[in-house]
Symmetry: none
Subunit: 198 residues, 2 copies
Amino acid sequence: MPRPRWSPTPQQLMILQDLYRQGLRNPTSSQVQKITGHLSLYGKIQCKNVFYWFQNHKARDRQKLRKEMLHKVQKNHSDNDHFPATQLQLTADNNSSNILDYFPANFPPTVHTLYPHSPSILVHQAEGKDTSSAQMTNNMGNVDLPKQCVIENGMIRTNVKSWVLMMTDMIPNSIPCCSNKPLQTLELFPIKATGIRE
Amino acid sequence: MPRPRWSPTPQQLMILQDLYRQGLRNPTSSQVQKITGHLSLYGKIQCKNVFYWFQNHKARDRQKLRKEMLHKVQKNHSDNDHFPATQLQLTADNNSSNILDYFPANFPPTVHTLYPHSPSILVHQAEGKDTSSAQMTNNMGNVDLPKQCVIENGMIRTNVKSWVLMMTDMIPNSIPCCSNKPLQTLELFPIKATGIRE
DNA sequence: TTTATATGAATGAATG
DNA sequence: CATTCATTCATATAAA
């Protein structure tokens, strides 16, 4: 069980960083495979490792940017305000378990860097799809189905393309409906596979 | 004050997994509501949580399933991937015993094809009198359909002529219980030919 | 040893 | 459904 988590070898890390530096951010599955294949020359590695690496690296890269930005803003805000940048964290450290919430979550907009040229990998993924449209936290407590969702005859659709409706009463009646009285029995809902389809 | 994202309680998770295990994949809004209603007995939860849970679970399940199958098409399709013949050329196609473990792609095509004996697709007559999807909205405080979902009174436009209802894809190895329902099985017909990335 | 941080892994939430 | 992103969990490692 304690299968240790992957840890990039210096070589692997160097390559990954280089790719990242060259602009690779969201490698396609194909790219991930190839990268993995290559990196496997330097040590055991799986595709998911590469996948996660990029995912994390990008995310943390942006977080860092956000933090820096925050510093600047605060600095300007309180210009002569003895506020050692290095202290900033401490200020938030006190209460919020999550610092850097001061900035719009999607702050450093995803920038699709241009890939200079033929490094080792080029991203051919259609760029320009920066969805950085601030996704506000729609907190309406009531309706909250995904955006383009449509309820069609009890079917939840997310796209107006296919409309193969799915239905069937797979859910046993035992499941209390919101509008019904919740079950009062201790009888757990079909925890175990049972007559669901009965 | 971003409300922390939902995190399933052990009970909720168990139930969800169980339903999933039984074959539920794309619950209808009605089902989602019912499930939500039930799960709310074990903790705060909204419909969208259930909705997303199934979506993500299904997606990631397939990603992992992808791992199982392999050794097929690949290797020799080096080309369009702009992989400058540099070293990244996975000369090592081999040893990475676990290549292709994960990589977000539409690999395991959603082929609902043959499942020994469980109906994959059922046709259901338009149950025009849907009684389930529109009503909820009661005290539970929220019929929370994901965000921007457009709810059109359970019914919507589109030239809906026949409602082809698709039974959830049963997991090949899932509980063998099956057919014996009022629904009648029909022949399968691929929902669509999952286009491979171009 | 305890605490803090870096980072791999996982998953909820969206969007198209 | 494929992708992407934000959060969070978990743990290896560095620092106190």
